[in-house]
């Protein structure tokens, strides 16, 4: 018996190891959401990011970096304010006052530098040198002076990983600023598109696209891009809407993390509402 197994091993060891490793990969693939896996991942990229940041720092000039950071911080604040002013211009200011809308003018910003980028065209990720210690939490939006960049995905003590707009796993609720139409935007691997918008909806080339207020990920109206191509489909009844993002991800080095995640109060309220609805149905 032992001789049989020894013979099998000697003749097919490469294939046996290959099958075992493929099975291991598939098991790991199915465990992606597990908290233990997330923890191991946070430790791994946190440790590696320490070395990456050293190399990354060698490529930047210290004094200019600080000055640049301050200017970019100011720029990002102004960008958010302008974005809000645009929104206020469209919706009647008086009605907003009557309804008791709160002005959330000052959003806290956490400055961060990109210390490395992912290898993939489809799963674009950025490693940032700001982590839990700086107040970063998963789900926080990442922006720069031009607009929305992505969402913080994983956080370690000193570093964080953000999914960018060029990541197939990031699906974002966005809004046409002019017509107030909401839609889901995603990265196809080649371009940013808004999906499932019927042909009859009012979307025009050149319309500004911002993150939607109904988004469960980004609570603020942040500029995302403009409609570059709009092609109604006669067969499906849905339009093809291509968005050109405001932010070019290649040259950016410094970003800001908006230290605000979706309001827990709002989330709880929505959750209670849905629970009540399902109780009534029963």
């Amino acid at each position: 018996m032992i001789r049989f197994f020894t013979n099998v091993w000697n003749n097919f060891k490469e294939y046996i190891v290959l099958v075992i490793l493929i099975l291991a990969s598939l098991i790991i693939l199915s465990q992606n959401k597990s908290p233990q896996v997330q923890k191991v991942r946070a430790i791994a990229f946190g440790s590696f990011a320490t070395f990456t940041s050293i190399i990354s720092d060698m490529f930047s000039v210290t004094d200019l970096k600080r000055e640049n950071q301050q200017l970019r911080e100011r720029n990002a604040e102004l960008m958010i304010q302008i974005s809000k002013l645009r929104k206020y211009g469209i919706i009647n200011e008086e009605l907003k006052d009557l309804l008791g809308f709160k002005d959330t003018a000052n959003v806290p910003l956490i400055p961060a530098t990109i210390i490395s980028r992912s290898l993939s065209m489809t799963q674009n990720m950025l490693t940032l040198n700001a982590g839990r210690k700086h107040g970063v939490l998963p789900g926080m939006p990442v922006v720069n002076d031009r607009g929305f960049i992505g969402i913080v995905h994983s956080v370690s003590e000193d570093f964080s990983i953000a999914r960018t707009l060029n990541n197939v796993d990031l699906k974002l609720t966005v809004m046409d600023e002019r017509s107030r139409i909401n839609g889901i935007m995603k990265w196809t691997g080649e371009e940013l598109v808004i999906i499932n918008i019927p042909n009859t909806f009012d979307i025009k080339i050149g319309d500004r696209i911002v993150t939607s207020g109904i988004s469960s990920i980004v609570p603020l109206p942040l500029p995302v891009g403009i409609v570059e191509e709009f092609r109604p489909s006669e067969t499906s009844g849905f339009s093809y809407i291509k968005v050109k993002p405001f932010v070019d991800l290649k040259p950016i080095e410094n970003v800001f993390i908006i230290a605000e995640v979706q309001s827990k109060q709002k989330k709880d309220l929505e959750l209670n509402f849905y629970r009540r609805q399902s109780d009534e149905i029963r």
Binding site: K13, A24, S25, F45, F59, Q123, T188
Partner: protein, 163 residues
Amino acid sequence: MKFDKIFPFLIFFVGLLVQVTIIPLVSINGIVPDLILIMLVYYSITRGQLYGTVLGAYYGLSVDLITGSLLGSAMLSKTLAGFIAGYFSTETKRDINISTFNFSMIVFLCSMIDTLIFSFFSAFDFNTNFVTVLFEHALLPSLYTGVVSILFIFSPFRRKRLL
């Protein structure tokens, strides 16, 4: 001898450091060469198929953990790439395969397999055009990786390891 066995496992971190910090500077339209794959192919040819398969799994898993990609996707793709590269590890052709342009061809082939499998987990959905994925996500990065691997044929590092 023992250090020689674990050296490829250690040098990986230097390679990945270069891959995520310096290699993006030479990207062409978002396409970057895969230095890790070049290292994997080299070690698979010089050390055999079994070693290449295990090394591929280790490189892939580490890439997944460190870069934040879908955990297990690069592990699967690089395991298979290491296994395929190991087929070119025959005693008689080993030296020819790493010291001539054969090496670039093998890198190109393994890169195609690696990127295709990796894209399967990241780029495919119901609306994806297979030809586009094949061309933009597999062929172009593989070509770039294959071209960059030519530099490796003439590198002093490779010559030293051959001795």
